[in-house]
């Protein structure tokens, strides 16, 4: 082969080809190319083999998950078929609250690395591989759940109470959802996407973004509450239906939420339902930070309706007063509003099977009364 006039210059002594042997040597380039190709092929082969091996290990078919107390410590035990169970995450000190992902391939659970460590949320493949810690909460994080939108939900202990948090699937961007005064217990996800929880001994529901906390309607609980798997009733890692999602209207940049009631006189409590028309004149709103204090008062309309604009992300409680300021009805349950949430109530502890009357409440014929907000009443 002849290339130009510098034939000797381009002759490779090793291969007896026109080549410089230097950086521009085609043979060298080709060798490097081949070496790179071989390396890439080796890596691809290794990845494939390792992946297949991992799949083979992590996907041995349905795994039976149970929670047992071993040596006084809660442990998650995993079993395949009829074989005896073994610790699901042997590298951890304790595990609890397992939940299988919707596709049945992963397990979310609360785990403790050591006896003195806090509980955190962990996730692993159903075979126990790929163990990773998702949360780093200050308090104990427990009762994790998968949410339909791909996020996770968990509960974090905060002194005498707790709060629900959500986070991305990898634990990033933890967001506090609830501002309950009493602890929330026994959380689970309903098929319609709401969170079912026990609050002060009463079953309640709330949305996936922490909005709409309210007592359950109908005979929802505890029929829909998922019991924790035990040794006697293990949980199989099978795919399950994805609950309904929830498109949130929460806007963290907003500094208020709205609360309105259609008819304060509508109640299951005889002391409230028996009040004469017009007896309730004002609504008083309390908050707690940490001591209870009054946020403000606003009028109750003659039809029993009121509308308020209130600070978000704080506990709230409502009293109804007569013209002299005497408390006629007091709601002992603390609720909260999320930023930009609008919360509607039909009555005051009314029958939960009632739907709203279709009428325009007097309170929404004007702007809501601001309480505890800049420019609002005190």
């Amino acid at each position: 082969m002849v290339i130009g006039t510098n034939e000797k210059q381009w002759m490779c002594q090793r291969h007896k080809r026109p080549c410089t042997g230097g950086a521009k040597c085609r043979c060298r380039r080709r060798r490097i190319g081949r070496a790179r190709l071989a390396t890439l092929a080796a890596i691809a082969t290794a990845v494939t083999v390792l992946g297949a091996a991992r799949w083979a290990v992590s996907a041995p078919g349905p795994v039976l998950i149970s929670v047992q107390t071993v040596g006084g410590v809660s442990r998650i035990m995993a079993a395949h078929g009829s074989e005896a169970g073994s610790p699901f995450a042997p590298s951890l000190y304790a595990e609890a609250d397992p939940e299988v992902s919707f596709d049945g391939k992963r397990i979310l659970f609360a785990g403790k690395r050591g006896a003195g460590d806090t509980w955190q949320v962990w996730e692993s493949d159903r075979g126990g591989g790929g163990l990773r810690q998702l949360t780093r909460a200050a308090g104990d994080a427990s009762q994790p759940h998968y949410l339909p939108d791909g996020k996770i939900l968990y509960r974090v202990a905060m002194g005498a109470t707790n709060a629900l948090y959500s986070a991305e699937s990898d634990g990033a961007k933890p967001t506090r959802l609830t501002y309950n005064v009493d602890p929330l217990q026994e959380t689970s996800i309903l098929p319609d996407g709401r969170i079912l929880a026990s609050l002060s001994g009463r079953w309640c529901t709330l949305n996936q973004d922490g909005t709409g906390i309210s007592p359950v309607t109908g005979d929802l609980a505890p029929a829909h509450h998922a019991e924790a798997p035990t040794a006697a009733t293990p949980l199989a890692t099978a795919p399950r239906p994805v609950p309904t999602g929830h498109a949130s209207v929460i806007d963290p940049t907003k500094k208020s939420g709205k609360l309105f009631c259609l008819n304060s006189y509508l109640s299951d409590k005889a002391t409230v339902a028996g009040l004469p028309d017009g007896a309730m004149r004002r609504v008083r709103v309390w908050t707690r930070s940490p001591q209870e204090k009054i946020l403000g008062e606003a009028p109750i309309e003659p039809d029993g309706s009121f509308a308020l604009e209130l600070p978000p992300n704080v506990p709230l409680r409502v009293d109804a007063l007569d013209a002299g300021g005497k408390v006629l009805a007091s709601d002992p349950v603390w609720l909260w509003l999320r930023p930009n949430e609008t919360r509607g109530c039909i009555g005051c502890h009314e029958d939960r099977d009632l739907t709203p009357e279709n009428r325009v409440p007097d309170a929404i014929r004007r702007l809501p009364n601001k309480l505890g907000l800049e420019g609002g009443a005190r």
């Binding site: 109908g218 999602g245 929830h246 209207v249 806007d251 099977d353 279709n358 929404i364």
Partner: protein
């Protein structure tokens, strides 16, 4: 140059690398922001940023074929021959009546009729069947022996229901668009008279003896601004050809079906009517607990034969008392799940069982009538202590979820969109037309289960548009299945209600529902113009503020948009077939397009009708302040409404305050900013309106 490049080579490469790094970083950050933005707007991680779909006006739309290219059958209603051996099915998708052998489960023949056949009935002798051609304005009389159309009668606008009077000598049709009832003499084929119905009559059913015709009306009667809707069943004296009664259902509308119990039911004769109880006056802050829409049924006596109804089951306006003629209302929903769009009701011949098809839930509800009577007559209707006094409308039962548990015996899953139903003469079977499944399903009344499915011959695959139509009519995407798109947009049109949507604030910025007919190409959407595309309106906003559930996934949204942009308008009866205008319409057209006032003074462009209402759909796609804002509006500018088939609207202006087109100017447009009209005489305004009706 070469020397320059050689000298600055490293600097250039470094600069390029820095620029590339900066660009990639910015792109990554922008993408991350886009993901956050979309996830914030949708509350869902399945969506990836696609700016054009949401922010480009009429930018990207799915490719769809014509609706008429889809050879779907779309069975709407059905009727059985008196011997129960032949089923006549109005196939609205292919403009035919299908003759089906229910025993063999086969379509025996297909009879071409008018456009979009809907209501159908069979004569007592079984030799004639009558089908209402909704888009043709006619009724076809079918010779059942010859299986061909014997005669075609012109009737009112949009005939949707048909019923025969006593002796089969007269035919009554419910005319959806002309809001009346045609009475046709079958001997001569001539229309004898038209009787005024409620608004948008949707069905016509004869009493067992044929002396009364019951016409259910889909939309509410006109009511004062911001007051409860009032549904109506118009009762016609079939012998005298007069309206005998108007039975009103307060706080209800969408009465699309009425069934009459035979006399031998062990109870006073009665009628059942499907209905919807909307909550449009309450701020739409949530969906749970029936906060948006509840689905139910009305129970009423037949004229002169009152049934015993507890007063707490009867709804009346605040401050008034129910009478024996006030119908009772009960909800068919459960506390935590709803059964959207009750479309049809049928009663077994012994009057012991009733069946309600829910087209939005793909469910047929089975009802034990004895138990239902126990509810509406008995102690359960009294409600809890204190409620009766506290609920202004004095109807504790009408607003109570979970009552259905007392009388519902089964929820029977069906093929998509169950609509019309017919009961076999022996009462053993109920035939259900699954409109979007192209099937007739047979329910055993003993087993309360589907025992047979008859395929009507539609295509085995589902087109994109058809999938969108199915999604449009299904409430599965709404929280607890409470309502479908169709619940507020029946047949792609509007329900005539004014809503208080939470996204606008409490009690402010009220908006009237808008028709979806020919809405494609009229973007931006919504009165505020906030939705620049169907993807934005039907995807993110719809989920966040209306359905309160997860948004449609991208494929479903694509199909839904394909259906919505293919919704066609009904034929406009105010247009002559040859396209010419009447003299009044011509005069109105001149006023619509005028550039000078009646004194010859030039009108500024923004004072002319044709400036803002321009283009093929009479909208300039812009927001304008024409002094139509009401006292509860925080905004002054509103989207320019398109005017296609504007005559079919039930209210006018963004919040529906104007009950008629005249009121737009005579009551709410006196400042002369919504087009210069103050120089017009009343007759000239009438001419303008006559022209507007042709658009």
């Amino acid at each position: 140059m070469r020397r320059f490049l050689k000298r600055w080579k490293k600097v250039l490469i470094g600069g390029f690398a820095i620029c590339l790094f900066a660009f990639l970083t910015a792109a990554a950050r922008l993408h991350a922001w886009g993901v956050d933005h979309v996830q914030q707007m949708t509350g869902d991680t399945r969506w990836q940023p696609d700016c054009l779909k949401c922010h480009m006006q009429a930018g990207i739309q799915p490719a769809i074929g014509s609706r008429h290219e889809d050879p779907y059958r779309s069975p709407a209603q059905l009727a059985l021959s008196p011997d129960g051996r032949t089923l006549y099915v109005s196939a609205s998708g292919c403009d035919k009546v299908l003759v089906v052998d229910p025993q063999a489960g086969k379509v025996q023949s297909e009879i071409p009729v008018g456009r979009h056949p809907f209501g159908i009935c069979v004569s007592a002798s079984g030799d004639r069947a009558f089908v209402a051609n909704r888009w043709s304005g006619t009724v076809c009389e079918i010779d059942t022996a010859g299986r061909k159309v014997a005669r075609t009668f012109p009737v009112g606008d949009g005939p949707i229901g048909v019923a025969l009077g006593a002796g089969g000598h007269k035919l009554f049709t419910a005319n959806y668009w002309s809001n009346d009832i045609s009475v046709v003499d079958l001997a001569s084929g001539q229309e004898l008279t038209r009787l005024p119905a409620g608004r948008s009559p949707s069905c016509a059913v004869a009493s067992p003896d044929g002396s009364r015709i019951y016409v259910g009306n889909q939309l509410s009667n006109p009511v004062p601004f911001r007051t409860s809707p009032v549904g109506e069943v118009t009762v016609v004296d079939a012998n005298a050809d007069t309206v005998a009664e108007r039975r009103t259902f307060y706080n209800a509308h969408m009465i699309e079906s009425v069934a009459v119990s035979p006399a031998a039911a062990g109870h006073e004769p009665f009628a059942l009517a499907t209905l919807v109880r909307p909550k449009n006056l309450v701020p739409a802050a949530q969906v749970a607990r029936g906060w948006m829409i509840t689905n139910g049924m009305g129970i009423m006596d037949l004229a002169g034969q009152p049934v015993r109804l507890a007063s707490t089951a009867q709804e009346v306006p605040a401050g008034s008392n129910p009478t024996p003629a006030t119908p009772a209302q009960v909800l068919l929903d459960d506390p935590n799940y709803f059964y959207a769009d009750p479309s049809n009701v049928a009663i077994t011949p012994d009057g012991k069982k009733a069946y309600v098809s829910h087209s939005g839930a793909d469910i047929v509800t089975a009802i034990d009538m004895d138990r239902l009577w126990g509810v509406v007559e008995g102690d359960q209707a009294n409600g809890r202590k204190g409620e009766r006094r506290r609920i202004a409308a004095d109807c504790a039962l009408c607003n109570r979820l979970g009552v259905s548990k007392a009388f519902v015996t089964a929820r029977i899953k069906t093929a998509p969109c169950p609509k019309g139903m017919a009961v076999s003469p022996d009462g053993r079977y109920v035939y259900v037309a699954a409109r979007l499944g192209d099937k007739v399903q047979v329910i055993s009344t003993e087993q309360n289960a589907v025992v047979r499915t008859i395929d009507l011959g539609g295509p085995p695959t589902e087109s994109l548009r058809r999938r969108g139509e199915r999604l449009f009519h299904n409430a599965g995407h709404t929280f607890q299945g409470q309502f479908s798109c169709r619940s507020c947009h029946p047949d792609g049109h509007m329900d005539g209600l004014i809503y208080d949507l939470e996204s606008n604030g409490l009690g402010i910025n009220l908006v009237q529902n808008r028709s979806l007919q020919l809405v494609n190409g009229t973007e931006p959407l919504k009165w505020s113009g906030v939705s620049t595309s169907f993807y934005r309106q039907c995807g993110m906003r719809f989920a966040a503020f209306i359905t309160r559930a997860g948004p449609f996934d991208p494929d479903d949204l694509n199909a839904l948009v394909a259906h919505i942009i293919s919704i066609e308008p009904y034929p406009n009866i105010h247009r002559r077939p040859d396209g010419t205008l009447t003299d009044a319409q011509k005069r109105g057209k001149v006023i619509f397009e005028r550039t000078v006032d009646t004194a010859g003074k030039p009108l500024p462009p923004l004072d002319r009708c044709s400036t803002c209402h321009s283009g093929p759909k009479f909208t300039d796609h812009k927001l304008h302040d024409v002094d139509t804002a009401g006292p509860m509006d925080t905004r002054r500018k509103f989207d320019t409404a398109h005017l296609v088939n504007v005559y079919q609207h039930t209210g006018f202006l963004h919040d529906g305050r104007a009950a008629t087109m005249e009121e737009i100017w005579t009551k709410y447009g006196t400042s002369n900013r919504h087009g210069a009209v103050n120089d017009l005489q009343k007759e000239q305004l009438n001419d303008l309106i006559e022209y507007l009706k042709t658009l």
